[in-house]
Symmetry: D2
Subunit: 311 residues, 4 copies
Amino acid sequence: MAISADQLAQIEAQRGESRPTRRAVSAGLEDILYQIQPVLDHGFVRVVDYLGNDSSIVQAARVSYGAGTKKAHDDEGLIRYLMRHRHTTPFEMCEIKLHVKLPIFVARQWIRHRTANVNEYSARYSILDKEFYIPSPDNLAAQSTGNAQGREQLLPPDEAESVIATFREDAATAYNHYEELLSDEGKTGLARELARMNLPANIYTQWYWKTDLHNLFRFVALRADAHAQYEIRVYAETIGQIIGQWVPLAWSAFTDYEIGGAHLSAAQLNCLRRMLDGEDVSQQDSGMSPREWREFNEILKKSSISSNSMS
Amino acid sequence: MAISADQLAQIEAQRGESRPTRRAVSAGLEDILYQIQPVLDHGFVRVVDYLGNDSSIVQAARVSYGAGTKKAHDDEGLIRYLMRHRHTTPFEMCEIKLHVKLPIFVARQWIRHRTANVNEYSARYSILDKEFYIPSPDNLAAQSTGNAQGREQLLPPDEAESVIATFREDAATAYNHYEELLSDEGKTGLARELARMNLPANIYTQWYWKTDLHNLFRFVALRADAHAQYEIRVYAETIGQIIGQWVPLAWSAFTDYEIGGAHLSAAQLNCLRRMLDGEDVSQQDSGMSPREWREFNEILKKSSISSNSMS
Amino acid sequence: MAISADQLAQIEAQRGESRPTRRAVSAGLEDILYQIQPVLDHGFVRVVDYLGNDSSIVQAARVSYGAGTKKAHDDEGLIRYLMRHRHTTPFEMCEIKLHVKLPIFVARQWIRHRTANVNEYSARYSILDKEFYIPSPDNLAAQSTGNAQGREQLLPPDEAESVIATFREDAATAYNHYEELLSDEGKTGLARELARMNLPANIYTQWYWKTDLHNLFRFVALRADAHAQYEIRVYAETIGQIIGQWVPLAWSAFTDYEIGGAHLSAAQLNCLRRMLDGEDVSQQDSGMSPREWREFNEILKKSSISSNSMS
Amino acid sequence: MAISADQLAQIEAQRGESRPTRRAVSAGLEDILYQIQPVLDHGFVRVVDYLGNDSSIVQAARVSYGAGTKKAHDDEGLIRYLMRHRHTTPFEMCEIKLHVKLPIFVARQWIRHRTANVNEYSARYSILDKEFYIPSPDNLAAQSTGNAQGREQLLPPDEAESVIATFREDAATAYNHYEELLSDEGKTGLARELARMNLPANIYTQWYWKTDLHNLFRFVALRADAHAQYEIRVYAETIGQIIGQWVPLAWSAFTDYEIGGAHLSAAQLNCLRRMLDGEDVSQQDSGMSPREWREFNEILKKSSISSNSMS
């Protein structure tokens, strides 16, 4: 991750300044404000601003004149109640602004979350840096056969080495040509908005991204899921840790109910009741397809570790 | 406006507390944070939280690592440029949370602005206070004849007095019956979610409302407009003053380009060119309908006072 | 429900016309297009237009050049897969436009669903009809003691009678005064936008409301739920029947996975595993609060009737 | 544009089928439904479905029981009034679904329009076709010096030739390596979700994209503008023509008020008034910056051709 000395100095300058505020403060986020949280080989997430804390959720739910908080125990109970019953609007009352550096193919998945504000670094206006995501060997895996949109076992070391060499060389070639296209030395030079189209999808871009806590939970639920592509999952996991520092009560309720929980269909609930009554239910008489039956058994075996893995 | 002593004490308690923060601060908003800004007879707007200031707009537009600000003059120029060219996303990078008390018929107009987060006081869960909007005589006007959705000249004093008496009496009757319906003294008592339907649209409700600066500008542009109903316009004007204290540079650009500006159609631009060439254009040869022609002349006469009236 | 002869004639005129189209057609919706589906005493839902059918979901998921459909069995399997794994975007590819007549207090809950397009009858511009929702005795219930935002046992007949009389009289008084306020016979008369504030929240309004199938499912999930207020639940149930006629495969998947399903927390899943292993788990050693434990047992007892009640 | 024989057959099969519907129909769109409208070298836009026509706008604005239409002349006047006064909600009552094939760097600009539904062809699940956007020589231009995010004069022919050669070769290399990475002949083969990151931003993707007419107008206003990048502008212009066939009255109002119109600031309106009074105003005493002054003069000179160029 090539953060320049000048950029680091700017970050440190911002961290060094402190002003009094009457607003709600999150001690956990103040600690890490502006700091680079590295993700992948050159990417990062850093919190640039935020609004609200656990008390703000309570305050909004109560439409209160003051801080909204009664006793810490009551607040926790109310937050858990709101989460359990999917009363989502109080969670929308917290907001966070992130500065994210990420490969373009990850950015293309990320942007599908529409309820957010975005300012992306413009490759029409500026020249992109020479930074590409090159996977490490332990992230180079084969196409999954069971799941058409997933990966499976790791590539053997020599094949991984060859893949990495291809990524490196093609990125270098593309970037050299990008620079040549732009250059006006001894020639006219191509406009930036055109030259950029030669660059591959693993080049890094960056943006300011701002969203509310409810939509951030949706982002984490979808993108930290085992079915999400590894390269966006690591961003979602980093954001999960950030949420844990920001609003620990809400995060704890979220990991218990959402991350560690599961949704069961009518057919699955029906099987459960039969099993609890002592019946030995098989896929054939479960009313489920083989795939649903397999998913059902995975849920039943899902250890509570999963809910802890993100905290 | 009947704010209870307990509520005022909660507000003062919040105003009395101050904590250090590394975040961007708006001195103007810190001054008025949590304070009641009265609107209508019992309503108010108060800022409960905010995120960002003028520099945040610049910072997001530049996707910068630091505060984003170079020289104050540069910042102002950039903000004016963004406003003029409708680059709206940097303005979305500021967020504000308001606590608003307002009559239900105003709330019904307000809620049509969909890009916002809302938590309203629940009349299913709680009992509404006995507070109704009763217009003052200088806001009681006749139906406009030219504009089907507007009002015109004031009612004569005796008619106004009678109207006010009607509003007062019907509100009192409705509220008394509301209390009787709820009461379980000597009887079962009706559920709150049902009893509330007896209350008229001028009863006050309240909510927490959070939105970004771009959408707040849209709210003010539509609701502080001369065609908006007076009872929501006063809320929009109060919010305009709040924006002026929050992000003075953005507010100044907004009043110059939006509030004080105007949109001209192709036909209107064409007329303008002919008039600037010295031609004497009449409605008949303008290519505009009588109504468009009248609106065109209003724009040309619109004094620059309009842009100042909100600052 | 006072639909005028003129309105019925307009509806029949529209139903009588038929034109050829190359678009996807839903036979079930064509049957009921424009027809009034009565809800409550004066309300209704009617389908005014729609876009797409079950095949459109499949077509969008496959980004196909043709109709997208292979075999009916494959389509059903794909739709169930999309629903189960919360791949929501293909469901957004169907759209419906409804004309709804509903009491204002129901409209205020309904409008909280923000991802929709709305045009409401304007009481600034027009005069509201004299139609109020008056609950029938079997919908007049007491405040729930266990659930602060709910109702419980029915009122005794004489109390119900008295409640209905109050609703009727206050509505009549308010409407008579509304007409007097507007009247310009022998006086100036008050503007419509002001007079309307005298009307209670059980007066009927109407709107055109358009949304996509995914957001319509969210509406039904929340508003047809047992915790929703009865007066909006009946609208949600009517809409559920409409969806069943529109996209039967998607509706079937939705009732199985969402309406008839349940979400379990990490703690609840953990208890389930212990119970399936033969352990006798009590609330005390469940890791759940008494309230969560009660909800857990309700889920386990939830009969599959619930999923059928809407179909 | 390499549409396969099989794809063309599917399109023709859909065009060949016709069914009766009671819904509003747009004759103009029925004519072109499903047809490929070519854009750039391999891209296209085709209308896959739609909801509503000009009458639907009128019908929604009137919240009517029937078709909403009175006389054609009245409809046109109402639509122009709604457009002029920015009553945007009736335009949201029409919806269109497009199938679009476009280069990834265009898709990245396009997706920033958030109020839309999208299903994109998945490169995690499927293998992308070997189709890249290669600009023609008359679209290869130099970086603009006056406008940091634009292009200016064309490249000289030999330089253009060299640029095209670079694009072609790098695309071919990247795609060959993409296929090699995926191949499992004699080796394991890399997962699709990883291999795709080697592909440049000018490769074509495709999606189903659905939005309402109001948001489609916003898309066209921004992306058919002279400041938009040529490669997205040609899509916006194609969509403009589609809108003209779909809702001719709304499109005519839009071109008159929006495309051919202009927004003037308070300072610009003030200058106009002085100029109409016969004053000779210069930039120095205009109260505008040199840049604003230049933009002002461009508006005054803007010929009405601009409004016609899209029709």
